[in-house]
């Protein structure tokens, strides 16, 4: 029985396989025939386009051959030559008609209809001036939409562009990449040595690391200057010669060589008044005298915005330790491509790379453009980042929304030209021809908008002070966001895309079947074109999004204003504290010295810090002083923290938590009660049992509200060994771990010994008018250590950091978006109203003649627009409520909605007023309609 079953099964399977294989064969055959057919059609069409005149000439010759051959045959049959020729022509028929059919058979006729003429373009330009309001709004929408759509790809390309010093694109970074953590691994001295010896694809290699260096001026004050430790080869690779003196030389790198420095033009000009005798002067860098050997010309800012170049010592390059953030770059040998260099780098024998990071099987050596080396992007560039696609799609979606709205305006504009289109159709213009004409007109608009948008963005980018906007150092000198030729081409492509969406869709609707029929009716009183459901949906969506966006922007603005006075949210009386940040002079120099130098640095920092705190506490009015990595309201660093006992997979371990290393008296100095457990004490710094204090939000979110005391937490760093467990010894309230959302977010504090926090931030509790202490703080600090660099002291309640600037940028972006949307709503409603009224002039006239009150007539016409406004506003309120609801924090929700309720109301008001105004302006025309005139007009 089993045998029988097996046999049946096997025959079944065989049958199935046979049928399947025949099916696949059939499919393959038809697919290949389809492909062949498509290729043949494309080839024939291309020939038709490319050598149109040849094709036409051949067609004429072939017809002539036919007619002559037929005439010959007729002559053979005994007909006289002339009669035969006439007969042959008659039989063949009208050659032009045949040629027309032949063109259609070749697919060329469609092409002919699509052909644009200058008339279309001229019409497009005339349309711009004929409807100026509509042009203004459409250009506004597209001039913002197109650059927005362009931006993500533009940034991705800018990052990969070659250095300005490298027009031939021959400079490449060499780095090690850890694919698991998706981050670069700093190469060590052995790697640099190995690459220098083995790589023939590079004519020379250089190493560098950026550092902030304290430069003392003549009056003994120090200021931080961005500089870099570089190998002498960097000047040769970049091909720039100094303006004064010499560049760094290989000899300067030697152990024991005199300390020298090359300075930048800006530093030379700003600090040394372009002293012509600069070369040979001595500068104290971090307290160590360095001789200036050269001044670089203006514009030399390698690697980002640096102004000082100190030799990278051989002992750093040959030492056992790994200098932090060492980066390597090189110039490709002539004739070597980047791909070849990459292949060679990959094949460098790992066996010979003992002690080097290259020996680590996990890391991948890569040859990458300089920008990717500097920023630490994966090899694929920004495009390969998972978020990139999202942003690109979002940007294109915004453009699509703008196009949708412009399409509505084009629809209205085109509908008013109904008679012109009817005449053109009557004169033989095909539907395709009219669609093409409307497309060409829209294209004029889109190209104009793209040009204005791109030029405006270029102009704005050239004037934005990025340092002011972001609070960070300015953009690297090589990152040029200016508009390139390539970006222009892409902008044009987007303009064509926009014109297709905004022009072709309404054109197809207007030339649709119903309209075609209506065109044929000579006595049609009006076009019969109606705004459809799509238009209504668009207006409703515009109104909804405008309300939400305006509410969000207003809410953010409201919040930004209240941040200043939000001490109760921060949990600390921020206006009573003066915040001071200082850096010790040796920072930047210590990288060269290894562990001993590091220890010395710590000791000096500890001593400076302790002396400074003591001196400040002795000042009258100062109640307390504390030191921390980040003070309340400042952006606390986010670190991944794992709670003991939460078992998750390796990759998902830990949650990002705002953290700060603080000195032992931190909470006391800030008048913060410890809600449970205890504060830090000095024993915590010495013992082997690390401790931590968490805030109440941490207890709620990471510990699920259970008793925090005695729980253990540790820091998780991807790709590194886990840190030790810290025992939670206390719980505090929220102290504001950032400026935007000070009362939210879990936070964790760990104690730090003096000398381990750098740059050190001091919170000085002064009470009233803390800013008055600022000059005294400067004096005290200069007295303690004149080489210390001090950031301008600022009252803690006025500190603004990264998140603040992000918020400003977001609010600005939202305001712009809101502006675009409101303009679109207004123009959309206006266009619809104007159009409806011109379409219904006769109806209005009749109604008025029959005695209907004008108000009622107005209301009838307005009803549709008002309904759309109402529905849109309701949806907008719902959308705003949805956005403002924080799914994470239940308690915050009500306060936020309360705070933002007014914003939503105001937003509805703004959009409503503009919407109603857009209705009323055309509605006034209804009242002006004279019955008799209206009836006569269309009669």
């Amino acid at each position: 029985m089993v045998n029988g079953l097996v046999a049946r099964l096997s025959s079944l399977v065989q049958g199935l396989v046979a049928r399947l294989s025949s099916l696949v064969q059939g499919l393959v055959a038809s697919l290949s025939s389809l492909a062949q057919g498509l290729v043949a059609r494309a080839r024939s069409l291309l020939r038709g386009i490319g050598s149109r005149s040849t094709v036409e000439a051949e067609m004429r010759e072939e017809f002539r051959h036919h007619i002559e051959s037929r005439a010959d045959d007729l002559v053979h049959q005994g007909m006289p030559r002339r009669a035969a020729a006439r007969q042959a022509h008659r039989e063949f028929g009208h050659t032009e008609t045949h040629r027309e059919h032949a063109r259609a058979a070749r697919g060329l006729r469609l092409l002919d209809q699509m052909r644009f003429s200058w008339i279309d373009v001229r019409l497009g330009v005339r349309m711009l001036t004929k409807h100026p309001m509509l042009t203004l709004v459409s250009v506004f929408a597209l001039a913002i939409g197109i650059p927005v759509g362009l931006a993500p790809m533009h940034l991705a390309n800018a990052v990969e562009a070659p250095l300005p010093e490298d027009p031939d694109d021959r400079i490449r970074g060499i780095r090690l990449w850890d694919p698991v953590t998706a981050s670069p691994v700093t190469p060590n001295a052995r790697d640099f040595d190995l690459w220098s010896r083995e790589l023939t694809g590079f004519s020379s290699l250089a190493a560098f690391r950026a550092a902030t260096v304290q430069v003392e001026s003549d009056d003994g004050r120090a200021a931080a200057v961005e500089g870099a430790h570089v190998t002498a080869s960097i000047f040769e690779i970049l091909g720039r010669a100094p303006q004064l003196g010499r560049a760094l030389a290989v000899g300067d790198q030697a152990s024991g060589a005199p300390d020298v420095v090359v300075i930048g033009h800006d530093l030379w000009a700003s600090r040394f008044a372009t002293d012509p005798d600069m070369v040979g002067r001595t500068l104290r860098l971090g307290g160590v005298p360095h001789t200036v050997v050269g001044v670089m010309p203006a514009g030399f800012l390698f690697p980002a915005r640096q102004q000082l170049w100190i030799p990278l010592r051989d002992e750093v390059l040959t030492g056992a330790g790994t200098p932090e953030h060492l980066r390597v770059l090189g110039r490709l040998s002539s004739g070597t491509t980047a791909e070849e260099a990459q292949a060679e780098l990959g094949s460098v024998r790992r066996a010979e790379a003992a002690d080097s990071r290259t020996a680590d099987e996990r890391v991948v050596p890569e040859v990458v453009p300089f920008g990717m080396l500097y920023i630490g992007l994966p090899r694929g560039g920004l495009v390969s980042e998972p978020g990139f696609l999202f942003f690109q799609l979002l940007a294109l979606a915004l453009l699509l929304v703008a196009c949708g709205n412009v399409s509505m305006l084009i629809f209205a504009r085109t509908a008013t030209r109904f008679r012109e289109l009817a005449v053109r159709t009557a004169l033989g213009a095909s539907r395709m021809r009219i669609v093409c004409q409307i497309f060409a007109e829209t294209l004029v608009l889109a190209v104009l908008s793209a040009g204005i948008g791109v030029i405006a963005i270029d102009w704005i980018l050239g004037r934005i002070d990025f340092a002011m906007l972001t609070g960070e150092a300015a953009l690297p000198y090589w990152l040029s966001l200016g508009i390139t030729g390539e970006a222009m081409v892409r902008a044009l492509a987007l303009a064509v895309l926009s014109a297709t969406v905004a022009g072709v869709v309404p054109a197809i609707r207007i030339t649709g079947k119903d309209v075609q029929q209506s065109i044929r009716r000579v006595d049609a009183p009006a076009s019969g074109i109606r705004f459809g459901g799509v238009t209504s949906t668009l207006v409703v969506a515009d109104v909804a999004v405008s309300v939400a966006v305006i509410a969000l922007a207003l809410g953010l603005a409201d919040r930004m204003m209240s941040v200043q006075a939000s001490d109760h949210l921060v949990g600390v009386s921020a206006d009573e504290y003066l915040a001071v940040e200082f850096r010790l002079a040796d920072d930047g120099i210590r990288g060269g010295g290894g562990a001993a130098a590091e220890r010395m640095f710590t000791e000096r920092l500890a001593s400076t810090q302790q002396r400074l705190v003591e001196r400040l506490l002795a000042e009258p009015g100062v109640r307390s002083v504390t030191v921390a990595e980040a003070l309340p309201r400042m952006d606390h660093p986010s670190r991944r923290v794992e709670v003991d006992g939460t078992e998750v997979s390796d990759r998902e371990r830990g949650r990002y938590v705002r953290t700060a290393r603080v000195d032992v008296g931190f909470f006391d100095a800030l008048d913060q009660p410890v809600l449970s457990g205890r504060a830090f004490d000095f024993a915590d710094l010495e013992g082997d049992a690390p401790v931590a204090i968490v805030n109440t939000v941490f207890v709620e979110r990471l510990l699920g509200g259970r008793d925090a005391l005695g729980q253990r937490v540790r820091f998780v760093v991807a790709g590194a060994e886990d840190g030790p467990w810290h025992e939670i010894v206390g719980v505090v309230g929220h102290l504001g771990t950032n400026i935007v959302n000070p009362e939210g977010g879990p936070a964790l504090y760990v104690p730090a010994a003096p000398g381990t926090i750098h740059p050190a931030r001091l919170a000085i509790h002064v009470g009233n008018a803390p800013e008055s202490l600022a000059p005294r703080v400067r004096e005290v600090l200069a007295d303690v250590d004149p080489t210390v660099a001090l950031e301008p002291p600022v009252v803690l309640s006025r500190v603004r950091q990264g998140d603040w600037y992000l918020m400003v940028a977001v609010a600005g972006g939202l305001a712009l978006l809101a502006g675009v949307l409101v303009a679109l709503v207004a123009s959309g409603v206006y266009a619809m109203m104007s159009y409806s009224i011109s379409e219904r002039t006769r109806e209005i006239g009749i109604r008025s003649a029959l005695g209907a009150p004008r108000q009622r007539v107005v209301l009838t016409i307005l009803r549709r627009s008002l309904t759309q406004l109402g529905i849109g506003a309701l949806l907008g309120i719902a959308l705003a409520a949805f956005i403002f609801t924080d799914p994470d924090g239940g308690a915050r929700q009500t306060t936020l909605i309360e705070a933002l309720g007014a914003s939503v109301g105001l937003a509805v008001g703004i959009v409503g007023i503009i919407g109603v105004l857009s209705c009323l302006v055309p509605a006034r025309r209804i009242l002006a309609v004279e019955s008799s005139a209206a009836l006569r007009a269309e009669g």
Binding site: E58, H66, G93, T97, H98, A102, A105, R106
Partner: protein
Amino acid sequence: MTDKADILPGTLDLLILKAVSLGEVHGYGVLLRIERVSGGALAIQQGALYPALYRLEHQGLIRSEWGRSENNRRAKFYRLTPEGRRRFGEEKASWKRLSDAMALTLTATPQEV
């Protein structure tokens, strides 16, 4: 001309493919060949011939080349491509099935119903 049959719609392509399959031929030759092999029964509208030829060429079923005709005039000669040959086979089989079915239907007697 009256005894000539009209060509059924959709059969012109098949006739041209057949004419071209018999050997390289120019446009006027296609016309003559169809008339000749059908014994003069099938006549093609001269105007319809060229659009059909261009359509078949556009689809990659026939290919053309310039050469010299029998009366020493420059003429464009058409020949079947492999794809055209395959399509011709298919169309022929399909036509055969249709005409057999038509013949069977039209010759049916009351007894067969």
